[in-house]
Amino acid sequence: MNLEFTQEELEFQQSIRDWMQANVPDDIKRCSAVGEMTGKELQQKWERLLGEQGWLALTWPKQYGGPGWTATQRYIFDLERAMAGAPPTSPFGVAMVGPVLYTFGSQEQKDRWLPGIVSGGTLWCQGYSEPNAGSDLASLKTRAERKEDHYLVNGQKIWTTQAHWADMMFCLVRTDSTVKQQKGISFLLIDMKTPGIEVRPIYSIDGHHHLNEVYFTDVRVPLENLVGQEGMGWTIAKFLLTHERTTIAGVADSHHEISRLKKAVAEAPGFLDRSQARQRIAELEIELMALEYTNFRTVAATDEGKPFGPESSGLKIKGTELQQKVSQAMVELGGMMSLTWDNPETVGSDIFNRATRRYNFLRACTIYGGSNEIQKNVLAKMLLGL
């Protein structure tokens, strides 16, 4: 039993903190200080900067471009990244398709795609959900017909985050409709510039454009863009669910949000009830502590070579609930200051003025990545034996 970082880890923490201090671009700091989204340009600038350091593909084995850090170091890095006001990196390349490629991909596929992910040069999106395949993902219908030298893809994806930014999509497609649903799914890499792809925006209630519909009409995808074998798509999708999830709880960003909330309360004008606000924040901090120590347990277990299995679904559920609670507290403590939507002037507090944007955005976090209800179904079956 040891709940302290080692001396080396503390030194590592300090070195990352110093680096963040010196290197997080000012325009990113400005965005995060008031709670504005970083757009494509800033996001990519940041990811490329990390890429240059070799700090983008954190969980990857060293041979593919990972930094060779322990889970504890990765956790510390994430914490210092968030506390410095830098955004989380986009998960689609580094956390999703990358590990799929170095686990299931051919040598050619690894050589072709991994470097762009490690450097932050290639942006990816995830083609999973469809209008009638949300939580029931296995019922997806987008079809890929095998022709002589290509797959012919027809169908529609939806809720595709950053499809309008992406160079590439990794996509679940149906290659066989004669077998059991799960067996007929394949994992395909699709260049977003291929003719026949149409990306239509979906504006979400935070007022921003993150989400898209993606339509495929006779899209020709080279055969060599199939990952693994035909019919392996479901296995690969499930693999991703068990890939390292030690940052899934969002502990680092919740720390940062709570620190912004405290700042807002400290700076806000006089009508705010500070004693009530401090107690509400204390409740959130205590919940965060419970989440953080559970997270520490998964980090420590990972470093001992005994990573958590389905238990980490609990981290996703608790972590997203807490993110929503923190953002809700920010809106509610701001009171009328949270009423502004696009007023360029500060009314009382910048942070409170923009609080509803994040609050609205985060309503999605208990839905994406497998809704919390689906996570509970999985836990009930796999852990509780119900």
Partner: protein, 370 residues
């Protein structure tokens, strides 16, 4: 970081679990509920022989040098077994107070605790001062002690109380014979014994004053953090037992021709309990390590957060255990409702949720991860 229990701690926990399984039961618990004194002489001396009486204390104080984590694992098992034996109230609590004061006189008293000869309890609370332990309403005027203490967990048999008073605004810790006071004893929510004690101009000799001022304050604040961690340990034992029993029940209880655990709402309730229990376990390990820190701010941050969290989530687990059991969950015949009372009880001792939230809100900032 590393969260595995040390081998020795695991051994202590396993031994405690086995001992209680063989020597305690819900039936014994229910018999004791009706009695004034819960201590069964043979069980009490067996606990002493298991080393529990010396476990919380340093070797230099005559103890066996156990950590708070070791003691917490014993207390967790006591909670899981619904055991009423007043180990914490009459051994750990008074013993730790004596050890934290650490004078020749108190260490001599401590050796009687470890030997099982002492019959001590702590009388720290009264309903005027509430949880403000460092500013009790009892007064020591010269040689006369006047006031009252309530909610005194004396096991039903203590003959000496370690108690607190203000003497000209200065905190003092005293050892007062029960015989000098007016005591009424009754049953507490968890089934244990508590007393109201009236001190009516009790004459105090110099030897009865154990500590004063800063020393007394420091010893008490260390004691409270220690006991708050043990409250959590006891609640964890009970919440774990409730979860296990409720999961088992959901798999066996049939309605509409199927096990109720096949219903999605029940599955989700149970998953919520599982996840909360997982987080409670994290908080228990955290507080059991940090609540005996020499560093006051570390100690308080840990014990305050843990206690506030337990008073929310362990209570919620206990409530849901009853809900899922349905009607049978609210009966005196089933252990579920008794665990529920134990959890509620512990959520109110040594600071309730509101008290700890307020305290936490007033603590100093730390950088995340520190």
């Amino acid at each position: 970081m590393e969260f595995n229990l040390p081998e020795n701690t695991t051994l202590i926990a396993d031994t405690a679990r086995r001992y209680l399984k063989d020597n305690y039961s819900f039936e014994i618990y229910r018999q004791h509920l009706e009695q004034q004194n819960h201590v069964d002489a043979s069980r009490w001396s067996a606990m002493q022989e298991l080393g529990w009486f010396g476990l919380p204390f340093a070797e230099s104080s005559g103890g066996f040098d156990g950590t708070l984590l070791d003691v917490a694992m014993v207390v967790r098992e006591l909670g899981a077994a619904l055991c009423l034996d007043p180990y914490v109230d009459t051994v750990v609590a008074p013993g730790k107070l004596l050890e934290y004061i650490g004078s020749d006189a108190t260490l001599a008293m401590l050796s009687d605790v470890i030997d099982g000869r002492a019959k001590l309890a702590c009388a720290l609370y009264d309903y005027h001062a509430g949880y403000q332990v460092l500013t009790p309403s009892m007064k020591l005027n010269g040689k006369r002690l006047s006031g009252q203490k309530n909610f005194v967990p004396d096991g039903g048999f203590a003959d000496t109380l370690l108690t607190t008073a203000l003497a000209d605004g200065e905190l003092v810790v005293l050892a007062v014979p029960v015989a000098a006071c007016e005591t009424t004893r009754h049953r507490a929510l968890d089934g244990g014994r508590i007393a109201n004690v009236l001190f009516d101009e009790v004459e105090i000799t110099d030897g009865m004053i154990l500590a004063r001022g800063k020393k007394a304050e420091q010893a008490l604040s260390m004691l409270l953090a220690y006991l708050q961690a043990l409250d959590c340990a006891r609640m964890y034992g009970a919440a774990g037992a409730l979860y296990q029993r409720t999961l088992e029940y959901a798999k066996t209880r049939k309605q509409f021709g199927v096990a109720i655990g096949s219903f999605q709402i029940i599955q989700h309730y149970l998953v919520d309990m599982f996840i909360d229990l997982q987080q409670l376990e994290s908080m228990l390990l955290m507080v059991a390590v940090k609540a005996e820190s020499e560093d006051a701010s570390r100690r308080e941050r840990a014990s305050t957060a843990a206690k506030a969290y337990y008073a929310d989530k362990a209570v919620r687990i206990a409530q849901q255990a009853i809900q899922i059991h349905g009607g049978v969950g609210v009966t005196e015949e089933l252990d579920i409702g008794h665990y529920f009372r134990l959890v509620t009880h512990c959520s109110l001792t040594h600071g309730d949720r509101a008290h700890h939230i307020k305290r936490f809100a007033g603590l100093d900032e730390v950088h995340p991860g520190e």
